[in-house]
Each structure stands twice: as C-alpha cells, then as structure tokens.
C-alpha cells in the first residue's frame, strides 16, 4: 500500500534521479521489461493500447460531437447541460470525460483551456494532448497572458472579445465548442466534423475555415 508520505516519496524520486540513466528511452525500457517479467502486463497489451490511441481515439471524436451540436439543437442543449452524459451517445465516454463541461465561443467571448497544476485533458474525446499543452510555457502563460499565447498560435483577438480561461484544477474537463463558420449552411455532420480541429476545441484556434480542410 502507498505510504502517503510526502517526504518519503520525494526521497525516492531523488534517489531515482541520481541512479537512473539520463536517457528516458532506457528508463522506459527498464520499466517495461520489469513489469513484463513480473507478469503484470504483456508487451502486446502495450502495443494494443498504443494502437487504440493512434487509430481509434483522437480529436475526430471531439469534432463529431461539436458537429452534431452545430447540427442538432436538442443535442446542443444536452451537451451544454451535461456534456459528460451527452458524449455517451457516441460511446466516447472514458478517460477524464465523466465531468465534462462544454464551453461555447461566441462573437464576443473566446474560451481557452489549460491545466496549470498538471496537464488534465479530456483524453477520451481528444486523444493524446499535444506536447505544447503539457509544456511549462503553456501552463504558466495561458492564465496570465492568454492574448500573447493566442497570438503565438496565430490568433489575434479584438479588444472587445473577452477571453475566458478555464484552468481545470478539479476533475471537471473542458471542451471548447468553436463557432460554426459562415458558409457551412446545409453541410452534413460529416462535412462539419472535418473542419473542427483539435486546437479549436482547446481554444488555441478561433476561426475555422469555411470549407473542409
């Protein structure tokens, strides 16, 4: 059982840092061979988890959800009321989506999601997070200078658009619903989903292109 002792675990971390090789590939290899030898998991299971996250789980899931919210007023209402429940329509519930909250961009509001204390992310809906989302620079700067951060992503926000930064400090996870671009009237949900990007659902992109990318 865990010790739940801050000093003890910190001391173990310091010892590991001193004694492990500096190359992280070697460290991961050591852990993998250890757990396989111990009979805790097989290498094939690891390969299959990786395949799951490269082939099936990714931002296309979130894009489908957004496209349906654009297309279906009833689903839109349910997504806003309880997004964790709404994504179960798609079978997309999973890692860190139970307490999901959808936040909508409007002409005068832009939403941006960050986790300053770790790197919480709705994995089951957006797949693995990009490295920048987990970086110290993004975690540090998004809450203090969101407009400069957005500018680095190529988004220039007019002064009269308010930024709302969501720092996911608890188990709630946030999904930004971007604005539906003009010129997409009559598009099918599949066509709409094709233009919704991962970054637009984190909030580091604002204007979606008026035609499928």
């Amino acid at each position: 059982m865990p010790s739940f002792d801050t000093r003890k675990i910190g001391e173990i971390h310091r010892q590991l840092h001193t004694h492990l090789p500096s190359d992280p590939a070697l460290r991961v290899k050591a852990l993998e061979s250890l757990v396989v030898e111990k009979g805790l998991v097989t290498q094939e299971s690891i390969d299959n988890w990786i395949e799951l996250y490269s082939e099936r789980i990714g931002p296309k899931r979130g894009a489908e959800v957004v496209a349906r919210a654009w297309s279906d007023p009833d689903f839109h209402a349910r997504l806003i009321a309880d997004a964790g429940q709404a994504v179960k329509d798609f079978g997309y519930e999973g890692h860190a989506t139970e307490h999901l909250k959808a936040v909508e961009n409007t002409p005068d509001t832009h939403n941006l999601v960050v986790c300053t204390l770790c790197s919480c992310y709705p994995f089951s809906l957006l797949g693995m997070s990009p490295i920048w989302y987990r970086s110290s620079a993004y975690r540090a700067r998004a809450v203090k200078e969101p407009r400069k951060v957005l500018a680095e992503f190529g988004v220039t926000l007019p002064e009269d658009v308010t930024v709302r930064v969501w720092d996911s400090t608890a188990e709630l996870r946030y999904l930004v619903v971007p604005e539906r671009p003009k010129g997409t009237e009559g598009w099918s949900p599949e066509q709409l989903a094709a233009i919704v990007t991962r970054d637009s659902m984190i909030g580091t992109m604002r204007d979606l292109p008026p035609e499928p990318a």
Partner: protein, 215 residues
C-alpha cells in the same frame, strides 16, 4: 503545496512550441500505455499527482512530460513495496510472474471507456455558497496536495457554478475518502494580475469549499 507543479503565472519559460506533436519519441507512447495499464495497489489519482509534485524541481521543469510519469510510476511502486529500487534500476524482476492474458485493442477500448470515473458524491453538509456569491480564497499556501494554485490565493471572485460534492484532493493524497462541495469561481484578470492584458478577461477555476471564505 508550493511545489514545482504550480506553474500558473510563472515567468521565464519563453515561447510555446505551437507545432509540437503529441509524441516526439516512441518511448513516450510506451510510457503512456504503461501508466494506464499497470498501477500499484491502493493508488489514488491524488496521490499520483502529489507524488509528481515531490520531484526535484529542476528535474520537474527540465525533462519531458512522460519521463516524469516514468519516474513517478517507479517511485509510487517502490513506495508501496510493489517493486524494489534495484528492480527499477536493473529493469528485471527478482521473481518472475506468470504472463497475464493480453488485452486486445477492443479490450483496451473497453478499459478506456470504463475510465470515466465519477468523483461526485453526496455529503450531508449543505453548500456554504450559492451561484452569484462573492468569495475570497485562502491567502496562504496550503500544505499537501492542494488544488488552489498560488496565483489565485487571497483573491476575490464570484461563484458561477456549484457541482455538488466531489472527492477532496488533500484527503485523497493521504488515502482518505472525503468530499467537499466544489464550485467554479470566476476571477477578473485585473484582480489576479496588476499588469493584466485586458481587465474584462476572466479566469475560471474549480475550487473546493475549504479554499473559500465569504468576501
């Protein structure tokens, strides 16, 4: 606690690598899988996160994300007596175990779906705050695994949502199963930063009742 994890508002980190992918190296994917598929008994999400906070700060701020997870998986398992330090350093088990069944991709997908764990629970105490209330956050650093970031300490904000009671991280990191009311609190940028970019901008945090007082 004021560990290296509390990054909101901290400076000198430079530009964001806006084009960075989800992984740069194959070992990052493998570590992600290892962390999700193998966990020592009795682990709580809060103890996992708290353990990360105890890494040497210079290391925490220097190494890739999944290298931290790798060290944390080892540290947690050593702490729990599940692996030994020698086993982690050598990469070999002192006693070999029987290989378990392999999880297919479908099995993994099913496992992933069941990770939609709820942290909500019902407690007897009524909520102390209502949506619309003005609150002030605890001004001092809190010991242990707090989820009140330093940049939002001693600040005045407005409750914009109440989520019922959720498991409380300061307790979870000690292995205790205690819940408190959870709120989303909205702060004006100008109340947090004297040199804020736009005073109408808002920062919203999910904060537990013990972090808050009436203002």
């Amino acid at each position: 606690m004021d560990g290296p994890q509390d990054l909101g508002g901290k400076e000198s980190f430079g530009a964001i690598e806006v084009d960075s992918p989800a992984y740069r190296e194959d070992w990052e994917r493998r570590q992600w899988a290892l962390s999700k598929l193998v966990a020592p008994p009795g682990l709580t999400i809060d103890w996992f996160r708290h353990a990360l906070e105890t890494m040497p700060p210079g290391v925490y701020l220097s190494v890739p994300y999944f290298q931290k997870w790798n060290a944390n998986d080892m540290a947690l398992a050593i702490d729990a007596g599940f692996y030994t330090m020698d086993e982690c350093l050598s990469g070999h088990a002192s006693e070999k175990g029987k290989p378990p069944d392999t999880l297919s991709v479908d099995d993994c997908e099913d496992l992933q779906r069941r990770m939609n764990r709820s942290f909500a629970t019902v407690i007897e105490e009524p909520p102390e705050f209502q949506v619309g209330d003005t609150i002030r956050t605890d001004p001092r650093p809190r010991p242990g695994h707090t989820r009140l970031p330093a940049y939002a300490r001693g600040a005045t904000g407005r409750v914009i949502a109440h989520h019922g009671a959720h498991l409380y991280p300061e307790a979870g990191a000690k292995g205790d199963h205690i819940a408190h009311h959870l709120y989303t609190v909205e702060f004006c940028a100008s109340d947090l930063w004297s040199d804020c970019e736009a005073s109408d901008d808002k920062i919203c945090l999910d904060l537990w009742e013990p972090y808050l007082a009436s203002a």
